[in-house]
Symmetry: C2
Subunit: 270 residues, 2 copies
């Protein structure tokens, strides 16, 4: 249950699953299937939304669908592949509003916010990797859409890819931090305040301000400002601002007369 994501066994099988709608139906000899892969995935997403990814066990999912646990394996090769498809399905469903943005900065900000919203809607996403998602139709469409935000702004192709991955990685990272905090709070059954109250005796004894002067000062200030040891919203806002500033340095660098940045055309991968 610890490592999600697939690419196990026959890797082509996962791809066929992801692209199932664009693939020619293969001749079926036996009885028709009672459900569809899409229905199974939808149920899995609903279950994960409601109770978290750990609740998506093959047995529980089968129960929700009214079939026997092992019947799931006629739709999906295993749990890891199921999660792959869940992820790509979510990507495929993301709203792609016209990149209305005036400047690249607000366009990229919108991309970040959209991704953040996805994590907010489906908190279990923080538990899967997403950085190197399976090459499904959803992921591909998302990649194309999001690259538009950076198109024609003086970055070469490699930089465009790197910049997008950079932003997406940040959003994932902050979403994960937020999810961690939420989980810790739920698990420990107590508010940040209660936790602090319970552990203050021990901690104040250990936390020697003379030995840790900066940590003491900065930690106190941050705690006071956020009302907690960590504030995901503030961290996101702060980080995104820094990231956009950092990218703007790259954008506004003196540029060569600039023949289109197209580089070699070898197919991706290798």
């Amino acid at each position: 249950m610890a490592s999600h994501r697939s690419s196990m066994g026959d890797p082509t099988r996962t791809l066929e699953l992801l692209w199932r709608d664009s693939l020619p139906v293969k001749a079926q000899r036996g009885p028709k299937q009672a459900l569809t892969v899409t229905a199974v995935v939808a149920a899995a997403v609903a279950l994960a939304d409601a109770e978290g990814l750990d609740a998506v066990t093959m047995r529980a999912l089968a129960g929700k669908l009214g079939i026997a646990p092992m019947a799931l394996y006629t739709y999906v090769p295993g749990r890891a592949e199921l999660i792959d498809v869940m992820l790509d399905t979510l990507y495929a469903g993301m709203a792609r509003r016209k990149p209305k943005g005036r400047d690249w900065r607000s366009r990229l900000e919108a991309v970040a916010h959209d991704n953040r919203a996805l994590f907010h809607e489906h908190p279990w996403l923080a538990e899967v990797s997403t950085t190197r998602p399976p090459l499904g139709p959803g992921q591909l469409a998302k990649y194309e859409y999001e690259l538009q935000a950076l198109e024609g702004e003086g970055l070469d192709d490699v930089e465009q890819d790197a910049a997008l991955m950079f932003v997406l990685g940040f959003v994932e990272s902050s979403a994960r931090a937020a999810a961690d905090q939420r989980a810790a709070r739920l698990e420990s059954q107590m508010s940040d305040g209660a936790w602090w109250e319970a552990n203050a005796p021990l901690l104040t004894r250990m936390f020697d301000p003379e030995r840790y002067p900066i940590a003491s000062r900065v930690g106190s200030a941050a705690g006071a400002a956020h009302g907690a040891a960590y504030n995901p919203d503030h961290a996101y806002a702060f980080g995104l601002e820094r990231i956009l500033d950092g990218l703007s340095v790259l954008m506004e660098r003196p540029r060569t007369p600039r023949a289109p940045a197209r580089k070699t055309a070898r197919k991706r991968g290798g």
Copy 2:
């Protein structure tokens, strides 16, 4: 096995474990323990280094230590707490070379590199959260040390904390991406090249360059430049540069005459 990290049950118990060395020994009535918590944790770290975090099962760890599985529970309340202590132990052991850095930029770069090195030495770290680590002595010392890199550079206390978390989050995020790629490669038993070759027929049929012009161009260029769909080292180098640029915008902003940034002094947390 999916959610690591603790704070379950009695939260004070975890703290007592973390600070065990600074705490007064409590009178022991029964027989002496054959091992120490520190030895157990060291064995667990060694096992995780060698075979990954999933290999650190209570049974396997007990086997390595020559004790019965259930005997572990006399040292540690459970697996989650064990992982907490493993993490803090690693933090405590990080080399803290004098912040020799001339300017804040190279100091912060060194902090990032040190953290990256830790992820490199202990790849299983990518599987635990680390963003909100337990408040142990290692974490505290690390926090103090790393804050030094940002001290006296015109950031107020809240910004100092946010900036550090921002950098550390990035390092974790890129380490995780690298680990994901490594895991995928191991699992699928094939190189990136072999994977591509096996799946090219299906993918080239799906990947319509007219429908996805930017993805096609940028993806190809990135793949060609990196020799793979993703290059963790390049992503790290690119991201860190952007981050430092972004922070420099913050540092070099016009500053108020600047009374020391010390804010309210309420204890952290709340």
